[in-house]
């Protein structure tokens, strides 16, 4: 049976969902997602509500209004909602067309930003293979080949590990990988991305999704 929700109720549920992501309230986010699903709200709209919450969290972190743990609890809330949403998305014929290999480069253990990007890419219908932190260039090459990836995402948060990024991109080129390469992390600049021959760079999770889409288009 299918009931059609009045738009007001619907936007109220989605609003609650966005707000619980922003506040990092995992249980509330889960409950709102369950409710949205049981009310047959379009999964794409649910996803948009989640993303909107996470974008706001990213903005407030950049503006120094909140701390890293606050970003993390928001990300966890989004993750638990995504777990409910993913099977529904898959059922509605929403299967990924592209695989992204993502990881933090060798010598670097920072992974908060990388995890956010990975999650948002998943939400945007990419199949994501996350290699974790301290990942050597060769491991990216192997994973890209095994998974026939269209895209590789490299993260670095230390100016001292940006060198590892340069070396990784050089190796991908040398091995003739077909995958496009995007890079990111707080110290990364457009200039650096050009210098090392990456295909693109993004400054936050939301623009990473736009970038990834444009690179595989």
């Amino acid at each position: 049976m299918r009931t059609v929700k009045a738009p007001n109720d619907m936007s109220e549920i989605l609003n609650t969902l966005t707000e619980s992501i922003k506040a990092g309230k995992r249980k509330d986010a889960k409950a709102a997602t369950e409710q949205a699903l049981s009310e047959n709200i379009d999964p794409q709209q649910i996803l948009a509500a989640l993303t909107m919450g996470m974008d706001d969290v990213g903005r407030r972190f950049k503006a120094n209004e909140i701390f890293v743990p606050e970003v993390l609890v928001a990300a966890r809330s989004m993750k638990s909602s995504m777990e409910l949403l993913e099977p529904v998305l898959a059922e509605s014929g929403y299967t990924p067309d592209h695989t992204v290999i993502i990881g933090t480069v060798e010598g670097d253990l920072h992974d908060i930003g990388k995890n956010l990007v990975a999650m948002m890419l998943k939400g945007a219908n990419f199949s994501v293979v996350d290699l974790g932190t301290n990942v050597g260039a060769q491991a990216f090459v192997e994973a890209a080949q095994t998974h026939k990836a269209s895209l590789i995402g490299l993260s670095a948060l230390l100016t001292t590990t940006m060198t590892a990024m340069r070396e990784a991109v050089a190796l991908f080129r040398e091995q003739g990988l077909a995958a496009k390469v995007m890079i990111g992390g707080a110290p990364i600049t457009e200039q650096f991305a050009q210098d090392i021959g990456a295909d693109g760079y993004a400054t936050d999770a939301a623009s990473s999704v736009d970038l990834a889409r444009s690179l595989v288009a």
């Binding site: 701390f67 743990p69 993390l72 100016t159 110290p187």
Partner: protein
Amino acid sequence: MNGPGQTQPDYGLLACDVFADELVALGGESPPWRALTFLEMGLHDHPDQLRQQVQSSIAELEATPGISRIVLAYGLCGNGLLGVRAGRVPLVIPRAHDCIAMLLGSAARRQALMRDVPGGYFYSPGWIRGGRVPGPERDAYLRDLFQERYPDDPELVEDLLEADRDTFSHYHTALYVDVTQDDGARNKCQQCARSLSWSFRMLEGDPAWLRDLIWGQWDAERFLTVPPGASIALDGEALIAR
């Protein structure tokens, strides 16, 4: 050039207070600087604020009579020093990425350690004094902060603290860089390691880079001089003036 025994200090030192212990020890009884400004180390988490504060402190130091140079006890610090401009007088800055390399004496040594001990987190007296290194003081600080921010939501506060501990899950070793033979700081670092079930490793610091910075042994390989009007820039991974 300045040197030990030189009598007329002519530079202003602008330093991150992470180096307070080392600089005071290396400066000795008659330190080589004419004026000294420390800036708060927590600024390193916010590179844009760091840049602004460094720039305005340079302007203040320059106004001190008798100053013909400003020495920065800073590295690139997450690009926080990028774009900092020399005003009336030249700037001198170590060609370092951060304080860890300076305390270890060279970038090469730091790179080798990061490669050999990938799960290592660096501690020094300054980092420990800052109270934000992984360990009991950080937990207590964050608990107060989040309790104040979310007074009605103890569950969220616990979640936040757990999330913070989680950020260190890839680490397993406290690397203590010792320059000042400070037993108190070393003990505290050992306490941090114990509370996290990490191992503790003592690294002998190398004061040469910092010592040469304050005593004016500025060879071009380790130090960048930024002439008036130019600013700190990057060429690949190397600090340059532009």
